[in-house]
């Protein structure tokens, strides 16, 4: 156990201390120096914060679900390829990961914008007046965040699929199971820990997102991180920024807890324990 001591000290200094500082700032007023819950009260009583919290949760949850829907087939396909072909295809998956969001936002406009490829095609078929609003709304946000998040979901699932014991698949085949049956009864349940791990990575990252929704979203696509950044940088209201951060952190922890329960239960092949 001693060999992780340096890491623990490092994490205590650069992670735990600042975190305690944030916690401290969320309950001790900067102006009066007194212990107070007024910032949390403002959070839960002013319409803005709860509404933004709702938007953040919506974007995070729907974004994660869509990412999973798109990433799973990709991962399944990748796992079926020869190692050499797989490494080439992996590069393609990583490409968006290495591209700056500003460049991507520009590229999305070329494809999905008012004068983009998609809308030009639609106009060609349906006439000049037809335009699909694909950007600067919730749809645009989803396009953007799914694009950002696919690699985080694909890799845990590919690794899981490759590590699955293929003799179980063969045994099922010998017993006459169809490919659909093998997938839904064996492969998919066995991959659930990876699905949970990938979803966890994605959902936590999405809850802290704000650049992509700001660049591709509409009027109502405001994220919690947006408010934190505003209170820290522009309003210099660190109390409020800290309170918003703590709520976001607690929420992330709750999601983490829920997902690790699924994961643990599946890992050990048991039913989740209740009570």
């Amino acid at each position: 156990m001693y060999f992780i001591l340096p890491l623990l000290i490092y994490m205590a200094a650069v992670f735990l201390l600042p975190l305690l500082f944030v916690l401290f700032t969320s309950v001790v007023s900067e102006t009066s120096g007194q212990l107070t819950l007024e910032f949390f009260e403002r959070f839960f009583t002013h319409g803005l914060y709860l509404r933004v919290l709702k938007t953040t949760l919506e974007i995070s949850l729907i974004g994660t679900a869509l990412t999973l829907l798109i990433a799973y087939p990709i991962a399944y396909y990748l796992a079926k390829q020869t190692p050499k072909r797989r490494s080439y295809l992996t590069l393609l998956i990583l490409l968006p990961f290495y591209t700056s969001i500003l460049v991507k936002a520009f590229a999305f406009m070329v494809v999905l914008g008012y004068n983009g490829v998609v809308n030009d095609a639609i106009r060609l078929v349906l006439g000049e007046d037809f335009v699909l609003p694909l950007l600067f709304n919730r749809f645009g946000v989803m396009i953007g965040v799914v694009h950002d998040m696919v690699p985080f979901m694909v890799f845990p699932i590919v690794i899981n699929l490759l590590a699955q014991n293929s003799s179980i698949h063969k045994a099922a085949e010998i017993m006459g199971a169809t490919r659909t049956r093998i997938f839904w009864s064996i492969i998919f349940p066995l991959s659930l820990p990876a699905v949970a791990a990938g979803s966890l990575l994605v959902i936590i990252r999405l809850m802290g997102q704000f650049v992509t929704p700001a660049l591709l979203g509409g009027r109502t696509d405001i994220m919690m991180s947006n408010l934190i950044s505003f209170h820290i940088k522009d309003a210099l209201d660190w109390n409020m920024a800290a309170a918003v951060s703590i709520v976001l952190l607690l929420l992330s922890c709750l999601i983490l807890l829920a997902l690790t329960r699924v994961r643990g239960a599946q890992l050990f092949g048991e039913q989740p324990r209740h009570g």
Binding site: F21, T25, G47, Y114, F136, L215, G218, R219, I232, A235
Partner: protein, 364 residues
């Protein structure tokens, strides 16, 4: 490590400075060695550390202002890029660790930093301000060395000249001036536009009547196509024909035009804000900082700067008079009654309330 002053106070009644010091002390003790290596303070006073916002304009300032200043005075200028936001300044003050001595940034930041007590008083007896044009921008803790202008920007390819909204009243009239409109996601300048659109005279803009501004915004809300968060997107959205109209900045638009991008800027009733220069409280390089401040306010590089980057205007009368006529024509003049000048003090007091209300309004 424990300060005598604090032990007699209640446990919770201690300041963040003390929390940080104690925490840093604990962290240092934990690894039994120094965590942070602070560079020794410059021996000579012949150094000024300046925070600037980075990007092409910063590079140009280095070429036009800083280098000649170093050659002229022998004072070394060290540029810190992109660290002039309020939170950074507050953190530096709290940890007693100034990383820079002076800042070039928006006057609204200067006004807010002044309210937080972060800025040094400027000793005006050491400056020559005899040709300074705007008394409101000659503040005890900051001075504007130029101003920048926000206004209506349009796509010259998609909008005919007679269909360009010439005022904010026009911009709010989507029937007479049809087109895809962009608005900003920040209330700064937007509330002013809303009031002007509602017929408030320029002289009565401040203090801003928020109820009236939001009532005016309600009328245009559903006609807006894109709510633009990033300033760099303003011109980009016009360039990519995503919008016909947007709110952008004259300096940015003039640069885009020079690069052949088909955009136009409406200078009538455009809204100008000061770009300030200020000195941080507790700086060890106060005198050298004031010399650099003077250089920005009245130095010879001014003419070259405002000629190379049209759309931004000087606050020094001599610099202004020395500018070529075609450059002067692109500036809102102080004598023009249709020019709007932002009251940065109002914004320093009301930014948080206005932004929280604006974002709530955006969501509803």
């Amino acid at each position: 490590m424990v300060d005598r002053e604090t032990t007699k106070n209640s446990r919770l009644d201690f300041t963040r400075r003390q929390f940080l010091t104690t925490a840093a002390g604990a962290a240092t003790a934990a690894v039994a060695g120094p965590l942070v290596v602070t560079p020794g303070k410059a021996q000579a006073s012949a150094v000024v550390r300046v925070a600037d916002d980075g990007g092409t304009l910063s590079k140009a300032r280095e070429r036009l202002f800083f280098k000649p200043f170093m050659e002229r005075t022998g004072i070394e200028v060290q540029v810190h890029v992109g660290q002039h936001d309020l939170s950074k300044m507050k953190a530096m003050a709290q940890t007693d660790n100034l990383e820079y001595d002076m800042v070039l940034a928006s006057g609204s930041i200067a006004a807010a930093a002044t309210k937080s007590g972060l800025l040094a008083e400027i000793d005006k007896s050491k400056l020559d301000l005899s040709n300074y044009m705007v008394e409101e921008w000659n503040q005890p803790t900051w001075i504007a060395w130029q101003y920048y202008t926000a206004g209506l920007t349009y796509n010259t390819d998609t909008v005919a000249e007679d269909k360009v909204p010439r005022s904010w009243v026009d911009y709010w009239d989507s029937e007479k001036f049809p087109g895809r409109r962009g608005f900003r996601t920040s209330p700064y300048e937007t509330l002013e536009q809303a009031l002007l659109a509602d017929g408030v005279p320029i002289t009565d803009l401040y203090p801003i009547d928020m109820d009236r501004a939001f009532a005016s915004l309600d009328k245009i809300k559903d006609k807006v196509n894109v709510w633009v968060a990033e300033t760099s997107q303003t011109v980009q959205l016009l360039q990519q024909n995503e919008l016909d109209f947007c709110v952008s900045y004259s300096g940015r638009v003039e640069q885009a035009r020079a690069n052949g991008i088909p955009v136009g800027f409406v200078y009538d009733s455009a809204i100008s804000s000061p770009t300030a220069i200020w000195v941080m409280k507790g700086t060890p390089n106060y005198d050298a900082s004031l010399k650099l401040m003077q250089w920005f306010l009245t130095g010879e590089p001014g003419v070259a700067w405002f000629t190379e980057f049209p759309g931004n205007g000087p606050t020094d009368r001599k610099t202004f008079e020395a500018l070529p006529d075609d450059i002067k024509a692109k500036l809102p003049s102080f004598d023009n009654p249709s020019a709007v000048w932002v009251d940065v003090d109002w914004w320093a007091d009301n930014l948080e309330a206005a932004t929280v209300r604006y974002k709530t309004w955006l969501l509803s």
